[in-house]
Symmetry: D2
Subunit: 343 residues, 4 copies
C-alpha cells in the first residue's frame, strides 16, 4: 500500500497551497476512521467515519449544510441539516444497503460507548453502491464495524493520517471505470483551512480528466471497464472558518464544480451529495455580503478535484463477488499520457 498520491507524481491541481497532510484532517479537530471488511470471495465492504471533534456531537453540535447536486441516493439525515443548520452525529460513509444498519448502530454507539441516551438523533449516513464487487444484499456492516470506525475517528490516530483507496466505505467502490474509494485533500487560505474527503464511485471511463488532460479518452486498455448501476459520490467538506449554515451551503455547492473538473457530467443515477461543516465555535459575523467566501470556494473546488484523483491513485486492483475484478488506474500509462499533454 505504498502507493504515491497524485501530487507526489508531480500532478498539479489548481494554485492554492495544501495543508500539512493534504487531507481533511488538516482542519484542526477533524478525525477520520475506517473499518474495512474483506471476507471470503464475496464480501468487500466497510464503513468510514468523519467527526468534527472528539466529543459528544449531540451535545456539541457544529454548524453544517448540505448540497444536493443530484439526490439519487439513500443518505439519511440530510433534510434536518438543511432546516436546523447543524450536525449532531458523526458522518458515516458506507455501502448503499448497509445504510440503515449503520444508522442504527450509531445510536448504539451513543448509548453503549458514550453512555448517553439521546431523546432523538439525526444520524447522518452517506452511501454509494458497491454491488459490483460485494454481495451487498447481505448487509454485513454492523455495530462492530461502526464502533471501530467512530473509535478511530475520535482517537489521536484518526487525526494523524487518512488511508485512501480500498478502505472503509470505499472498499468496493469504482471511479471512472477503475478501482475507486476514499480520497482526500486540503487547501490553506489566509485565515482558514478547507479539507475534503470523498467516497468515489462514479464516472464513465471515457470521461476521466486528470488535471484537465483527457486521460479516459487516451487510455488504451484490453478489458472492457465495469459499468455498474447506481454509481455515486459522497463529498465531505470541512473548514475551520466561522460562517453560518447558509454560507456553508454555498461552499458545499462548489464541491460539484471540483467533481466536474474530473470529467463527470453528473450521471442520472449518480447520487452527488455534499455535506459541509465548520469546526469554528465563533458566532458568524453579520457581514454586509459574503465575498469573504471566495477563497473558500476556490479551495473547495481544488481540494475536491484532487481528493477524487487521490482516490484513483491509491486504490488497488480488487477481485470480489462473482469473480469480478476492477483494475486500478494504470499509473505508468497515465503518466505517459500526462507527459504527452505537457504536464
Amino acid at each position: 500500500m505504498n502507493k504515491l498520491r497524485a501530487r507526489e507524481h508531480g500532478i498539479q491541481f489548481g494554485s492554492m497551497e495544501t495543508g500539512r497532510n493534504n487531507a481533511i484532517i488538516d482542519v484542526y479537530g477533524v478525525g477520520v476512521g475506517h473499518s474495512t471488511l474483506i471476507e471470503g470471495d464475496s464480501i468487500r465492504t466497510g464503513v468510514t467515519s468523519i467527526v468534527p471533534h472528539d466529543g459528544n456531537l449531540f451535545e456539541k453540535k457544529v454548524v453544517a449544510a448540505v448540497d444536493l447536486f443530484n439526490a439519487y441516493g439513500k443518505s439519511t439525515g440530510l433534510p434536518q441539516i438543511m432546516f436546523e443548520g447543524v450536525l449532531e452525529s458523526p458522518i458515516m460513509l458506507t455501502e448503499t444497503l448497509n445504510t440503515w444498519r449503520v444508522a442504527d448502530a450509531v445510536l448504539d454507539y451513543y448509548v453503549e460507548r458514550l453512555k448517553y441516551s439521546p431523546w432523538s438523533m439525526n444520524v447522518v449516513i452517506g452511501e454509494t453502491n458497491g454491488m459490483y464487487l460485494t454481495d451487498n444484499l447481505r448487509r454485513n456492516i454492523g455495530k462492530k464495524h461502526v464502533f471501530e470506525a467512530i473509535d478511530v475517528a475520535r482517537s489521536p490516530s484518526g487525526r494523524e493520517k487518512v488511508p485512501e483507496g480500498n478502505v472503509g466505505g470505499g472498499t468496493p467502490m469504482i471511479g471512472y471505470g477503475f478501482k475507486g474509494g476514499i480520497g482526500t485533500s486540503s487547501r490553506i487560505g489566509e485565515d482558514f483551512t478547507v479539507g475534503v474527503l470523498v467516497q468515489l464511485n462514479c464516472g464513465g471511463r471515457g470521461d476521466l480528466l486528470i488535471s484537465g488532460v483527457p486521460v479516459g479518452r487516451e487510455l488504451v486498455l484490453a478489458e472492457k471497464p465495469p459499468n455498474p448501476l447506481g454509481n455515486s459520490i459522497m463529498m465531505i467538506v470541512a473548514t475551520d472558518l466561522s460562517m453560518d449554515s447558509r454560507q456553508l451551503w454555498k461552499v458545499a455547492k462548489r464541491a460539484a464544480l471540483g467533481l466536474a473538473r474530473t470529467g463527470s457530467f453528473g450521471g442520472n443515477s449518480s447520487g452527488d451529495f455534499t455535506i459541509a461543516f465548520t469546526t469554528s465555535k465563533n458566532d458568524p459575523k453579520n457581514k454586509q455580503g459574503d465575498s469573504f467566501l471566495n477563497p473558500v470556494y476556490k479551495a473547495t473546488v481544488e481540494a475536491t478535484e484532487e481528493a477524487i484523483i487521490n482516490a484513483l491513485f491509491n486504490a488497488e486492483t480488487l477481485t470480489g463477488v462473482n469473480n469480478r475484478t476492477v483494475e486500478a488506474l494504470p499509473i505508468e500509462q497515465v503518466k505517459k499520457i500526462l507527459n504527452k499533454y505537457g504536464r
Copy 2:
C-alpha cells in the same frame, strides 16, 4: 374502539364531498396496514404501511413528490423522491428511533416475501417521536411487524377500512396535548379523489382548533398536558389524478395549510413532512398551466384538517412508560364547546 369519527358527531370540515370511506383508501388501489406492539408497561409502539398498489413498487414505481415544511426529522428516502419524482417502496410510518430498523426490514420484505433482489432501493420511512409513552431506545419494531404491516396493506383487508388512533406507527403519539396517532379522510372532485392519512404527534394544547373553534383555549382540564420534545406530523396525500411530480409537489405543499387550520404554528422541532403520490398510470398532460389543480389543492387542505381531527377523536387514553398517561380528547366537553360556538 367503537368511537365515532369527527364527522359522525356532525362536525364539518370545508365544503367538498368525502369519498365512501372518508379515508385514504378511497383512492382506488391504495392500501393501509398497521402493526401495533403493546408489551408490558413500557412498550407502546408500532408501524403503519401505505401502498399505492399491491404489486412490486420497485418494478412499478408511481409518480411522487415531497414537501418539507419543517424538516426536523429523520425520515428516509425523501431527497431521491425530490429528484427522481417517483416512489419505489411502501411508505412506512413509525417511531423515530425505529426508523432505520424498519427501513432495513423493508428490504428484507422484498427479498423474502417478494423473492426479489433489488440492486438498490429508496426505502421511505416517516417517523414521529413517541418517547413520552414508549421506551423508544429499545427500538422494538422489527421484521415481524414490518412484514405484517405491509402484508395487510397489500391485502384486500387493507383496502376496506383504516383503523385510526392508537394503531401502528401512531400508537404512542400525542396531538395537541391529547392522545393522537393515525387519522385519515378523503375528498372527491369532478374527476379525482384525494385521500390523506396522518400520523399526528404535534401541537400545543392551547392552540387546538376544531372546525375553526378555539377548543384548546376553552377546555378546562384538571391535569397539565404532556409537552414532550420532538413533536411532529407525517402527512401522506394520495390521488388518482394524472400529474407530474412538480404538480404533485404543489399539491403536497397544501397539506401544511390543512395542518394550520387545526391550530399548529409549525413548532421548530416539529417535523412537518408531506409525501404525495398519484396512482394514475397515464402520462401527465403538457398543459398550458396548472389551474386544473385548484380543486385538488382544496381537497388536500380539507382532508388534511379532517384527518388530524379524526386522529384525536379516535385515539384512546393510554398509559405507557414511566407510568405516564395521555388522556384522549374529552369528546363530550368538546361537543359542548362546539355547540357554544354555533356548530
Copy 3:
C-alpha cells in the same frame, strides 16, 4: 375612512398580545409609505413602500429571507435574497404590470434623492394583479409615486400610522371576493416584536374564514363576486430579534399558515410570497438549535391572519375600469354571523 379594525369589533386572533399600533411599524425603525393613484374612471392603483430603517439600505443592508409558497408572480429580487440573505433596497408593493417601472424608479430614488450611485442593486418589488379595477396595461406608476411612497416610509409619519385598505399597492385589490388591499398587525413576545403587512388580493368568497368562522359560506349576498385571474398575496414580516437568514426563512414560512387560517387553499395562480427581515444589528448567536423561534412562529401566524382580516375590514367599496364595482365586506352582516358562531 373611519372604519374600525377587526380587533376593535371584538374579534380575537390567537392569544398573543399586539404591539402598540397593532401594525408592522411596531417593529422599531420600520416605516411604511403609500402613494395612491385614482384618476378618472379607469385608474385605481398605487405603490407601497416598507423600509427596515430610514438610512441607505444598500450601504446598511439588513438580514432577510424569502419563502415561496406558491411562486406564481413577477416579484423581483427574491433569488438574490435567498442566496445572500440580505435586503439592500426598500420593499415595494404594487400592481403586476407596474413591477418593472417601479423597480427602475427605485434606482432613480437612490441616484436622485440619496445622491448615491450604486454599482448594482437588488431591487425588491412584490406585486398582485389589479386588472379587475384598474386599466393595468397603462402602467401608471412612475418615479413620482415611487419617490412619494419611499419618502413617506423613511419619514417620521411613516412610523406613526399605517393606512389600510384601498391604499398604495393595495388600491385595486380584491380579497375573498370583497374589496381587499393593505392590512397590518403585530405581536409582542418576551424579547421581540413581530409585525406583518399584507397586500391582499386572493381567495374565493366561499372560503373566507374569520377567526375560524365560515363567514364566506354563511353570507347571503345579492351580487356574484368578482373572480379575476391571478389573485395573489404579498406578505411582509418584520422582526427585531437577532437571527440569521436561514432562521428568518423558517419564520417566513409560517406566514402561509396564517393565510390558511383565513380560508385560502393557495390557488394555483395565486402568488403567495413572503419576505421577512430583521432590524437587529446584532450577530446571530450560534445556538444549539432554533427552538427559541417558537414564539416568533406563533406571532407570525397570528399577525398574518389578523393583517388579512384587517385589510378586509378597512377596504371600502370601489368602482373602477369598465364600470366594475367590488363591494366592501358587509361588516354588519359579518358581525351577525360571528355572533351566531359564539364570538
Copy 4:
C-alpha cells in the same frame, strides 16, 4: 469580425458531435436576435433575445426550468418558472441596470407588435453587470432595442446564424479578465439536440482553463486585467427532447459543470443562472426513471464549456467608459500554450 471559433482552431471540447451551426439555433425553431448599442465614449451595451419559437409565447408556452447555482443577480421571472414549469415570454439578456426597462418593453412588444393584451406576463430577463465598459446608470436600452432584438429572433435570420462576442447583451462583458460576451455551441445525440448560449461576464484571469489547459496561469501579459465587481454568467439551454420541468431542471443543473471546466469556482457575487426549455410539444412520458437523460446531461456540459470559450474567441478588444480597455483573448499566445500542452 472574421474571427474563427474555438473549434476552427482545432480545439476539442468533449466527445459528442456538434449540430450544423454549433449554436443554440440547431434546436429547431429556436431564434436569437441581438441589438447592440455603441454610442460615444461611454455607451457599450445592448440586449439579446432567445425565443423557442416564432409565435406568441404567452399563448403557446413551452416547458422550462431554472437552476440557481449562485443567485447573485437581478434576473426576473425565475420563481414562476420554478413553480409553473413553463416559459411564456422571450428570454432577454442585457446589462444589470437595464433589466427593468427591458422587462417593461417586452410587455410593449406584445401590446404593440403582437396586438396582444396579456392580463399578466412572466417576463424573463437575465443580466450581467457591464459597468466596467459602459455607463450603466444611464440605462440606455429601451423599446427600440428590445423590439429589434425580438424581431430578429423571431425572423428567419434569427435562425440562420448567432453572432458572438461583443454583441447584444454581451457587448460590454468581460470573461476571465478578457473581453467576453455572447457565445454558443450545440451537441447532437441519437434522438435530440442540445444548444447552449451564454452571456459570459465572470471568472478571474488566473483561473481560465481551455480544454483543460491552464491557459490563465501560463499567459504572460503586460497589463493587469480588469477585475470589476459583480461578474456573472447567464446560461440558456435549449433542447428538442420531450421532458417535464423537473427533468429539465436536472438538465439545467449540468450547465454549471460546463462552467466549472472553464475554470470558474463560482465567485460569490457572480450570478450563475441557467434557464432551460424544450421546444417539444409532446407529452413527457411517465417513465420508470430518468436515465434517458444521461446523454442530454453530457451534451449540456460540453456545449456550455464550448459556448464560454467561443465567447472569448469571438469577442474583440473594446474601449469604453472612463477610457477603460478590455483586451481580447490573445489567440496566438493561447495557441502556443495549447500546443505546449499537447493539443
